[in-house]
């Protein structure tokens, strides 16, 4: 899907991991690394996107993702507008395209979009004016690429080389856009082994195309893993004949200290949040020494700063300058 790249292969939109090269993913991680120190400065801003307007366009409720996008944009010195469409225009019968055209007429430079339909970010990217960038903040079951990249960032900070890692993703793969993006990113970065551990009701029929080892037993699935990623179990899955009960799910797939023993001794535990304590994992693990869940949240800001600035600077004179030294620019900005 070359829709998200310009003719020079640089990021124009950030829609899905699928279709991006390994080099580009590493570039995003490196760029994020340069931003990771910005919040530690006394002035938490860099002037990279000064004068730009970024619209957070959320058709679905979100707290974490929206606020970290907002923070990221503000730390890049952009003007941010938050719009929760969930209950306004679409209810009045306005089409997605009309909503978009209206906002575009307000001269926004970037839309950060979350929408309940898979493929909506692609759809919007195909219809916006050429100077507008789209960042996918989650589309249906399809993709959540910034979440996946912040997870990769977190893994890289703890584990360095992807080639030797064994990563297990546990939970609802069927409905999870996070899992799809994580799997694509892990595979593109050359991860040694990617496993999913889930009952068959939460596994998509076409899982053979994902490039994962499927396990149904948590104990065998966790054996020898370096990274354990828990997925959120949506409450509504309990009613739709997907699972019999939270209790049985927790007994079979919930992460506890005891079950963690099968993983490598230095294995880290991740979760995109928000956690259902006592369903996906117990509090001992969530708050335990192996949990990197809160680091994920902070890394989310750095990753979002990286993709926003990269997408915004593609194809311009600034891009070259930017490619030369994100680190130096970041520093200069924070010193200012």
């Amino acid at each position: 899907m070359s829709l998200q790249l310009d003719e020079k292969g640089k990021l124009r939109h950030f829609l899905s991991i699928d279709g991006l090269s390994r080099e580009l993913l590493i570039d995003i991680l490196d760029t994020a690394e340069s931003f990771a120190t910005v919040p530690e400065q006394s002035v938490k801003k860099v002037p990279l996107l000064r004068g730009k307007t970024i619209v957070n366009l959320f058709f679905e409720a979100s707290t974490r993702t929206r606020t970290t996008f907002e923070l990221a944009a503000k730390r890049l010195s952009a003007d941010v507008l938050n719009i929760n469409i969930g209950a306004s225009s679409t209810v009045k019968g306005e089409t997605l395209l009309d909503t978009l055209r209206n906002l575009q007429a307000m001269h926004a430079d970037m839309f950060v979009v979350r929408h309940q339909e898979s493929g909506s970010a692609h759809f919007i990217a195909r219809h916006v004016k050429p100077y507008v960038s789209i960042i996918n903040a989650g589309d249906g079951r399809h993709a959540h690429p910034t979440q996946a990249m912040l997870d990769m960032f977190t893994i890289r900070r703890h584990k360095k080389e992807f080639g030797k890692l064994c990563v297990a993703i546990i939970g609802d793969i069927l409905h999870s856009r996070v899992a799809r993006s994580q799997i694509n990113a892990l595979n593109m970065l050359g991860t040694g082994e990617v496993r999913v551990i889930t009952p068959k009701t939460l596994l998509p029929n076409g899982h053979h195309s994902l490039g994962v080892q499927v396990h149904h037993d948590l104990k065998t699935g966790l054996k020898g893993t370096d990274v354990i990623i828990m997925l959120r179990l949506q409450n509504e899955r309990m009613s739709g004949a997907m699972l019999p009960s939270e209790a049985e799910y927790f007994r079979l797939y919930g992460l506890t200290e005891e079950k963690l023993c099968g993983a490598k001794s230095d294995a880290i535990v991740m979760h995109p949040g928000p956690i259902n304590r006592g369903v996906e994992m117990d509090s001992q693990v969530a708050d335990g020494p192996r949990s990197v869940i809160l680091q994920q949240v902070s890394h989310g800001i750095a990753i979002r700063m990286a993709v926003m600035s990269m997408a915004m600077h593609q194809g311009t004179g600034e891009a070259k300058d930017w490619g030369g030294g994100p680190l130096s620019r970041g520093k200069r900005g924070s010193e200012a």
């Binding site: 899907m1 829709l3 699928d18 089409t95 997605l96 395209l97 929408h115 339909e117 898979s118 493929g119 909506s120 692609h122 759809f123 589309d139 249906g140 079951r141 399809h142 993709a143 856009r177 799809r180 998509p204 029929n205 076409g206 899982h207 053979h208 195309s209 994902l210």
Partner: protein
Amino acid sequence: MRILIKNGLVIDPANNIHRQENIYIEAGRIVALGSKPDGFKPQKEIDASDKIVCPGLVDLCARMREPGDEQKADITSETKAAAASGITTLCHPPDTQPIIDTPAVAELIYRQSQQAGYATVLPIGALTKQLNGQELSEMATLQDAGCIGVANIRPINDTNVLRRALEYAATFNITVFLTPQDAWLAQDGCAHDGPVATQLGLPGIPASAETSVVAKVIALVEEIGVRVHFLHLSTARAAQMIGRAQYDGHKISCDVCAHQLFLTEMDLDDYNSNCHVIPPLRSQRDKEGLRETLSKNIISCITSDHQPHEADAKNMPFGATEPGISSLETLLPLTLKLVEEGVVSLPKAIARLTSGPAKVLGLDSGTLTCGEQADICIFDPEKIWTFNDKDIVSRGHNTPFIDWQFKGKVTHTLHTGRIVYEQKNESKKKKHG
């Protein structure tokens, strides 16, 4: 009007004719094939040299959006598109607004098509009232009002209602058209439950949504003996099951949409909403299996399942778009492509568009038999052309086949002995010649 179609290669699969012949038409009927009737003086001659003359095509399922959805299309616009595509008979499924569950709606459709005059439109009545899957419709009354059969279109979840409906239809020898899709298994799916849907994050419709209904209906047909036609198969497995039931002597027939023989789930890549169809585009293996069962005559008809839409209906994220393809104008071109690709012979291909569907409908049309209504399609089999958006006659421009190259193009269509379509540049050429 007396018309002579001369020097054409006449292919009439029902009568096993495949030779160069002249066709003589008078008062709306074919009066002779080959030798000229005494004293026949044509008022118009159509030179069909190097062309193929076949029966007018019969399409088992085409939505014309009238009544109820005239913002998308209407009977006049779509029968005109049918005429330009060599189609002279179309069946209209009952999911209009209001639904075809009263004689009044059936009569309205019939009257509108008569007035337009491009093609015969045969309404298919609803199998249950309001297509609600709960109460039987007045099938016998609908039959008397001109409905060619009854159809469910929407799933019937209560198997007992389905059984009673089939029994009641069998009482009056009414053909029942069924779209086999289990609502519970299909849920809110919009794509084949396979690798592509998994990658794109689209809710899937498993193949079992189709096969489980086909199996259930076959079991009921075995008890009841009703004539059932399955509309629009998408899985190879369902076709095999129907083949077995046919072998066992049951009155079951089925069709496939032309697009299912060319597109697969892979075409959904990039969320092309023009490939959003129900039943969904399935796997490569299904496509191959459907082609095979088509060549074996288990699938006896190719349909368009024409569903014209206004542009807005397709201009949304994939899952939010309305399913369906505007497909009248690609029905013959795609079928001829099957011949080009060696799937079926030319006479077989024509049979799937003419005598095959006519037999399902219990009609005498779909042939060039003397004395029959002169519904005729003439096409140039060597003409290579590209399908362009600007050339679409239908009001629906929603098709994934734009820019496809086809070989074989309709030059004339006759309906009840009248020329309802004549290719423009062709007539110019004639004048020059």
